[in-house]
Point group: C2
Chain length 201, copies 2
Amino acid sequence: MGITERREREKEEIRRKILDAARELFMTEGYDKVTMRRVADAIEYSPTTIYHHFEDKDDLVEALCHEDFAKLLEALDPAQMPADPIERLRQLGLAYARFALQNPNQYRFMFLTPREEHPHPEDSPGYQSFGVVRQMVADAKAAGRLRDDDVDAMAQTLWACVHGAVCLVTTFRPEQFPCVPPAPDLVERTVDASIRGLLKE
Amino acid sequence: MGITERREREKEEIRRKILDAARELFMTEGYDKVTMRRVADAIEYSPTTIYHHFEDKDDLVEALCHEDFAKLLEALDPAQMPADPIERLRQLGLAYARFALQNPNQYRFMFLTPREEHPHPEDSPGYQSFGVVRQMVADAKAAGRLRDDDVDAMAQTLWACVHGAVCLVTTFRPEQFPCVPPAPDLVERTVDASIRGLLKE
DNA sequence: TCTGTCAGTTAACAACGTTAACGTTAAGAC
DNA sequence: GTCTTAACGTTAACGTTGTTAACTGACAGA
């Protein structure tokens, strides 16, 4: 049975090659510039080959971003956060923002592109990432530090605020910002303000 | 000179027709579905004609959104807001969100599409819209209600938070939300939390 | 040795943004 | 009244995109 295994391995290898080439293009030039032909050129295969490994372009980019959700989940590792529940939340927000600013194109696709697709399954990194936020909010609430009872709503509120800040910063170049360029610490300020807005008192 | 005037008028009319047809497509089906050919079909002209009125597709959509910035500015009319500076800010945030939720496709193009283009000129509705926010934050600060001194940074923070909430709500359908569907009042909650996060005390 | 599967190819399709080349119309110059 | 010129419209094409049908060749298993 070593032959079919080698076949499997080879198939996996070229799938990997496609993903790597696509990621390179995606990170440096964005979604539009990832054309099937350019990816094919990069790996020195014909465009049709890609369709033997991915259903279509969206499926390819989806696979790319599936991997990135795993990276996001890693970046949010609670083990690396301080003990104080509020300080933990703060560091979580900053880690999330750091990921977004370091991978703006992936971030756009992950959180800014409407999907026809079904929800993330419960064991997916995407689902789990939100679970981390939710858990930390629940902890802060259990510690009596939050003003509200609805953990989900509070977690979503925090997420929304940080999401908004990184969207603005990654969409507009500084000189395109309305009136004045973005405060250099806009993301931090947003994290702080949104958390403060949920605190008791 | 009545003739050249009629010519002008006719030219303006077809420009209007193009814009209206494009807006219809844009609102109901989104940016991708606005193809030059479909717009041309809708107004019963050849695609080439559009190029006599707009430089290219982006120029067309840009013109569309220029009109929408004017609508946004209208929607933010401070005259319709209550007197209390904090309550004013709150109503401003809600009005902004209402505009975004009612015109999701335009909103995406206005605030979520990276532009090569230069900043909005000072007298443009886009620039002025942020001016409204800025002014209300300045008023609240003058009333001694805010904790911080940097008016621009605070205005941007508020903007970021509301922006984030409407982005999430317009990007994901409820069943695609991670873990649980969005709190029905997520936008309100975000407005409230972000303002609260800037208050003195 | 034959057969069927599977990974890869070429060549084409339809749709897109865009443009060159070509009418047609009519305003303004003489 | 005739000529020129500009404006506005057309058709037909170019190059690019995602995608697919139809073929080719290798090779495991009977």
